[in-house]
Each structure stands twice: as C-alpha cells, then as structure tokens.
C-alpha cells in the first residue's frame, strides 16, 4: 500500500529545501542578471565582452554541467562549500545568465522618447536610468522573469545530482526504502506540478494585465 504517512513528511522537508534553493538562486540571480544586462549593453569593450561571454556560456551549457563544475571545481580552487551552497552558486549563475537577456530586452523596449524627455527635463543620466528607464524596463520583463522563476524551481531538482537534500533527493531515498518507485515519483512530480502549474497560470494572468495597461 501507499504509505503516505512515510512519504509526505520527507517529501515536505525536501520541498522546503527546493523552495529555499529557488528563492536564493532567483533573488541573487536576478540581481546579478541586472548587472550582466548593464554590462552587455556597456559602451566599453572590456566590460561588454566578459559579460557577453558569461551570459552566452550560462545560457548555452546545461544547468547540470554548471552544477558539476561548481561542485567538482570549487574544491580545486581550495574553496569548500556544502552541497547546498554549491547548488545555490550553480543555479544562481544559470538564472543570472537567462535573466540578463530578459532584463536587457525589457530595458531595450523602453521607447527612446523616455530618455529624451528626461534629458529635456534636465535629469542626470543616472537618475534617468534608475528612475525612468529601469522601472519601465523591469515592468516589461516581469512575465519573462516569472516564467524563469518557475523554470528555476523545476531546475532545483538537478541539485539531486550533487546530493543536496531537496525534493528529488528525498524522493529517491524514500523510493529506495519503500520500493514504490512509481508512486513516489508520481507523487513527487505532482508536488512540483502543484506549484509550477498554478504559478504559470498566474504569470499568464500578470502578462495579460500588464499588456492591458499599455493598450
């Protein structure tokens, strides 16, 4: 029989770790992503090129490989992290690379007239960017960033491969104890979906709402 009493507490503990991983990697990743976006748009080549390479590499290689590089790589540099933090670093890098392109295209979507109007009003370049362009650009990239947050949540399941005790690892351990592979993984999948699917619907709703504002 299905021993929900055995499964659920452990899967619940795993889910909490998954959500912690998501929160940390999304918050840190988006902040770094903003800087990457600024770097990629920079005039100076020595700022632009390294950022461009990091962004393209982060988007071009599998998140799993990023995790392995951090996990196997940091000890080589003499840095020892718990697996949890290795996962945070790896997932943050991936989230930063993807979010930077979303933020950049959001900023680019702000009409040039906004900058010109700010300049005409005598606002400094910094004020123009921080108070006029950035808020509108971020607003435009909200739906994409929400979608990425959902992908990041699902991506935390990869941390299983570097032995972080998140939902997928707990599912694996429970399944090897109970041998009820089908049930355990089906339940685990439903737990992920129970969060990801409503979140997707929410992001679609937000997108519609934001579009309506511009109409």
């Amino acid at each position: 029989m299905i021993d929900l009493a055995v499964y659920l507490p452990r899967l619940g503990q795993g889910l909490i770790v998954s959500l912690q991983l998501t929160a940390l990697s999304v918050v840190l990743g988006y902040v770094i992503g903003l800087f990457f976006a600024l770097g990629v748009s920079a005039q100076r080549g020595w700022v632009r090129w390294p950022c461009l390479v990091l962004v393209e590499v982060g988007r071009g290689i599998p998140a799993l490989v990023v995790l392995y590089i951090v996990y196997f790589g940091l000890p080589v540099l003499g840095v020892l992290f718990e697996n949890f933090w290795a996962a945070v670093i790896g997932l943050t890098f991936t989230a930063a690379a993807y979010s930077s392109e979303m933020i950049r295209s959001g900023i680019q979507s702000v009409p040039a007239g906004q900058r010109e109007a700010s300049a005409a009003l005598g606002l400094s370049r910094t004020t123009t960017f921080v108070r006029v362009v950035l808020p509108q650009g971020m607003r435009a990239s909200i739906p994409a960033l929400m979608g990425l947050a959902i992908m990041s949540f699902q991506g935390t399941s990869l941390a299983y491969s570097i032995s972080v005790n998140e939902l997928m690892s707990q599912a694996y351990q429970v399944s090897t104890i109970t041998f009820q592979y089908l049930w355990v993984y089906a339940l685990t999948g439903l737990i992920y979906a129970a969060i990801a699917v409503p979140a997707t619907w929410l992001s679609v709703g937000v997108e519609r709402r934001l579009n309506r504002g511009y109409a």
Partner: protein, 220 residues
Amino acid sequence: MGGVDVSAAMLLVLAGLPMTLLVTALAYAVGLVLGIPLMLGLRSRIAPLRLALRLVVDIIRGVPPIVWLFLIYFGVQLGTIRFDSLSAAVIGLGVISSAYLAEIYRGAFATVARGQGEAAAALGLGRVTTFARILAPQAFRTALPSMATFLLSLLKDSSIASTIGVADMVFQATMFARQNPAVAGIVPFFLAAAVYLVVSIPIAISARRLDTRLRKGAVA
C-alpha cells in the same frame, strides 16, 4: 592538469557526443510527431477535451525532466519488462517535447489570420485541405524559430539522461571526475561545456537567419 589528462578526458567526452545527439534527436522526433495531435486537441472546439488537454500539457511541463526520467526508468514496469535507460530517456524527454512543441504549434496557428481559413472555406476547400495546405504552412513559418530554440534547450536537457545511466557526454565526464577526483575532476566538465556550445552555435545561427528571412518573407 597534465596534457595527458586533458586529451584523455576529451576523448571520453567526445565518445559520449553521439549518445547526446541521439537522445536529443529521438526525443525531438517524438515531440514533432506527438505534438501534432496534442495541438489539435488544444485547438478543439469541444471544450472538455480542450481543457483536459490544456491541463495535461501544463502538468507535463510542470514536472521537472529528471522526475519524468526517474518515473519512467524506475517506476514503469510492464510485466517483468523495464525500460532500458536510453528508451526511458527518449520516452521521458519525448513526452516533454510533445507538450512544448504542441504549445509552440498552437501559438503559431493562433497567429494565422482568421481570414485565411474563411477565404479557403469560401473557395470551397475541404477542412483537411484548408488545414494542411493553407493554415499549416503559414503556421510552420511562425513556429520555426521557437522550434529551433526548443531544440537547443532539449539538447541541454538531454544531459539529464546521464542521471539514469545513459552514456552521454555528461555521464562520461562524471565517470572521469569520479576516477580522477583531484585537480583533473573538473576538466571533463569544461570540455563537455565547450562541446555543448560548439554544437549549439550552428543551430542558433541558422535559427536566427531563418527568423530574419521568414520575417522578411512575411512582410513581403
């Protein structure tokens, strides 16, 4: 990080490349085909069918790939038969591809102007002819760039097959890392990363070209 290590690691990673490409290609092929009936269902006039498939597609996409692979590889047993790791990976990633491609197809059909279908009906074309000869070719144009983007993300997701023992590039890299846990452990992952980039670049470039060309074509 001696020269020997690097070349040995490179050989091992490259030995996994055909498997990476095979898993990606097979799963994509499954998705290309199964995405069509799913898309038709998503466009169905029968509301219960449409809503049920909407939920199915959303749930498929809501479950992480690694969970799908473990579910199929460890969980599914037909009599005494279990899927081997390659079949499980192709089925799992194929199911995911079907859902994503169905959604891409659906979005593309939604962009085809209504008048096209109405004009075809006015000309007395049958529903099947209208679909296959009028709507589908136009939708395909719109869908191509997204299909290429999805192929790139599938290529990366194929690495997850290594977790159920498919001997792809990441699997080989992991083996090397386990055998050489010291300094050399990280080398094969950098090599694998480089190979992923090298394989992605031609797909990305041709997708971008196709996109620009189709955009021009659509305007003309």
